[in-house]
């Protein structure tokens, strides 16, 4: 438990350093889970096994990009309650409100102290989820990281903020940092109409060699 509190405090400090301390709606919220740092999606971390899930940073994408890389993801197990066990899975998914997918050609690397407890990752649901098979029971404080993920089909996303999702044993968690989608359409002045008229031209002029007959 002491280890958990120390890690929670560290995470809270990191979030504060990254985003400032006041005047930012992302810092609004309540307590209870010890890691509220911003206004994220509703999540259930009380009562069951407790897992935190976060990207290395907030990320902004432009919807016209063909694809983009995702920052390193971390999954920390604070209280497995014998539920994060061999045979289970972690499933990382793109935001359900967006129709983008993971780039399934990307090579994903699993790291962290508990990397050995994860089998070979694979994509599912048409690339909307990455599955991390759990090959050994997780213990308090176990941490795995996922690098190399890419996201494609950004043009199928609404503008605004969404969060990557993590599911395991029917308990969901959401990324602590948002994905921000920027949808831009530029314009200027004047209308979208143009007109031009040529000078009158006699374009049908006989051409070729002129032969004089004497």
């Amino acid at each position: 438990m002491q280890t958990r509190l120390i890690m929670m405090a560290g995470l809270f400090l990191a979030v504060n350093l990254a985003f400032g301390t006041e005047g930012d709606a992302r810092f609004y919220g309540g307590g209870g889970d010890g890691c509220d740092g911003m206004s994220t999606r509703a999540r259930s971390l009380d009562g069951g096994p407790q897992v935190s899930f976060w990207s290395a940073s907030a990320q902004t994408f432009v919807w016209t990009d063909a694809d983009d890389s995702l920052a390193t993801l971390s999954i920390a197990v604070w209280d497995p309650q014998s539920a994060v066990t061999n045979g289970g899975t972690f499933r990382i998914s793109v935001p359900s409100a967006w129709l983008c997918r993971f780039g399934t050609n990307a090579t994903v690397v699993v790291g962290g102290a508990a990397a050995a407890k994860i089998g070979s990752p694979y994509y599912t649901a048409d690339g909307r989820s990455l599955v991390l098979p759990i090959t050994a029971d997780f213990e308090v404080g176990d941490l795995v990281t996922v690098t190399g993920l890419r996201v494609v089909d950004l043009h199928l996303c609404h503008s605004g903020s969404q969060w990557l999702e993590l599911s395991f044993t029917d308990v969901d968690a959401c990324d602590e940092y948002p994905l921000q989608m920027r949808v831009l359409w530029y314009g200027g002045s004047y209308d979208d109409w143009g007109i031009a008229t040529s000078e009158p031209l006699g374009f049908y002029v006989p051409s070729g060699t002129i032969i004089g007959v004497h």
């Binding site: 129709l99 002045s189 004047y190 143009g194 031209l201």
Partner: protein, 491 residues
């Protein structure tokens, strides 16, 4: 050869510099240096320069383009004739892509005009000189030995890509379209998955509407034929509503008999069209053109080689392939901001007052149409610009737009014919399969207007797009045309 090449390079560079100098920071579509030359006994070449800013091509989404069409006039005569091009497809033989931004020249099979678009992924200013197209002389009813004057007209269009999409947002819009599984409460968004025959029935998996009476009715059961444009196939849509300057250009190519039915001198709100010595002009040419009845709009679209859009295409043009947001506007959110004033009104550089405004609706203080595309800026988001998924502007508010309705048999009978560039002698659209210009039965209205409240500006609102027709001119209606994308044209 070297000298000739050097001259062409210099001309291209000068042209690009001129285009940039004339209109920095603006869309400012410019067509210049139109020249016509003999090519052979049946064809002539037409060359021109073209430039506009804020163009784009994202091959995973869509692109903008300019629809260019021509009218020819014989020296000494007043009548302008339709011009048909020679060849079809992407970059047909005899055409030249000019110098500057790499462009594609796309000629549809009816050869009424051509699209100019970026040849490769990119965005920003597009400027190209010495674009060359081939004119089929015989199509224009002119005497070849006379002096010929050629007029090039260009309008910005936006490509709406092929693909499935949903109609109905699941919100509270009046008369919304729905899946036939709906029984009461919120509509169930219906997915359009092809251009095949579509069954209209109050049955799950079929297209239906939540109203079967009054102005927003969906009508009864039936079918939409395979040729009814359902929005699945790709099409080009005018980026903005037609402006008063555009409409003046249109009028200036008509005969006196045609003008008698196409020009209105009424004092519509913020309407600036007038005639002097037989020349029509708009003192504020960049302002959206109101006071257009369906007959006017249909004639404009026929003359320009475009066509009206269907209700289904309207929702595709707004929403794109994204999942619906209940009660959304064309910019994909439920936030809407009115305009409390306009800076530089009428100058062509008009900008809206109020930081969050993105729609001309609800009888705000500047009562009437604004500059086309007024909310888009050099850094605007989709919501700020009031832009659709594809980048089409002004689909809500401003002025009501004419759409083929699903609410009666006349609208459902539409088969997607394009205008052929020719009007009747008295100035009406001559495309037989279009709804009648005199009754307007089959034509409804989408998008709301500057006078109407925000509810009518929603993407799926059908307040006046059921069995409702109004063939008369009024303050609140304008024109926006579309054209089915030629086969093989991808984003």
């Amino acid at each position: 050869m070297t000298t000739c090449f050097t001259k062409r390079m210099l001309a291209a560079i000068c042209g690009l510099m001129l285009a940039a100098a004339q209109d920095v920071g603006a869309n400012g579509l410019l067509v210049t240096n139109v020249m016509v030359r003999k090519r052979d006994n049946t064809t002539a070449t037409v060359t021109f320069d073209i430039a506009w800013q804020n163009s784009w091509r994202f091959t995973n989404i869509n692109h903008d383009a300019t629809w260019v069409f021509f009218k020819a006039r014989q020296e000494g005569q007043s009548e302008w004739h339709r011009v048909l091009l020679e060849g079809s497809g992407i970059n047909p033989p005899g055409y030249s892509n000019g110098m500057g931004t790499a462009v594609d020249l796309i000629v549809p099979s009816d050869r009424v005009g051509l699209f100019v678009r970026r040849a490769a992924q990119g965005s920003g200013t597009l400027a190209v000189t010495n674009v060359q197209v081939v004119w089929n002389i015989a199509s224009a009813n002119v005497v070849k030995t006379s002096l010929i004057q050629m007029r090039a007209l260009a309008v910005e269009m936006v490509y709406v890509a092929e693909g499935a999409f949903k109609v109905g947002s699941g919100g509270t819009e009046s008369g919304s379209l729905t899946d036939g599984s709906w029984t009461s409460g919120s509509p169930v968004p219906f997915t359009v998955t092809s251009e095949d025959v579509l069954t209209i029935a109050h049955t799950a998996g079929c297209l239906w509407g939540i109203s079967t009476g009054n102005n927003n009715t969906f009508g009864g059961a039936g079918t939409l034929s395979a040729s009814f444009p359902k929005g699945y196939a790709a099409f080009y849509c005018m980026k903005e509503e037609a402006t008063q300057g555009q409409y003046a250009d249109f009028l200036n190519t008509l005969t006196a008999a045609q003008l008698a039915n196409r020009y209105s001198s009424a004092a519509w709100n913020r309407y600036t069209l007038s005639v002097s010595n037989g020349v029509y002009s708009a003192s504020v040419p960049d302002r959206v053109c109101n006071g257009l009845c369906y007959g006017d709009a249909a004639a404009f679209m026929d003359w320009a080689g475009l066509r009206p859009y269907t209700e289904l295409e309207f929702e595709k043009a707004c929403r794109g392939p994204l999942p619906p947001v209940a009660d959304e506007y064309p910019w994909g959110t439920t936030a809407i901001g009115g305009t409390t004033g306009i800076n530089n009104d009428g100058t062509g550089r008009d900008t809206a007052v109020s930081g969050n405004c993105n729609c001309n609706y609800g009888s705000h203080s500047v009562y009437g149409p604004y500059r086309a595309g007024i909310y888009a800026t050099a850094s605007s988001t989709r919501e700020q610009a009031g832009a659709s998924y594809w980048g089409i502007l002004g689909l809500s508010g401003s002025l009501w737009e004419y759409a083929l309705t699903l609410g009666n048999s006349s609208g459902r009978a539409f088969t997607g014919e394009h205008g052929d560039g020719v009007l009747t002698a008295d100035g009406y659209a001559d495309v037989i399969a279009w709804p009648s210009s005199t009754t307007a039965v089959g034509i409804g209205f989408r998008g709301g207007s500057y006078q109407d409240g925000p509810l009518m500006a929603r993407t799926s609102a059908r307040d006046y797009c059921g069995n409702y027709s109004d063939p008369a001119r009024n303050n609140l209606c304008c024109c926006r045309g579309v054209r089915t994308a030629p086969a093989g044209v991808l984003p």
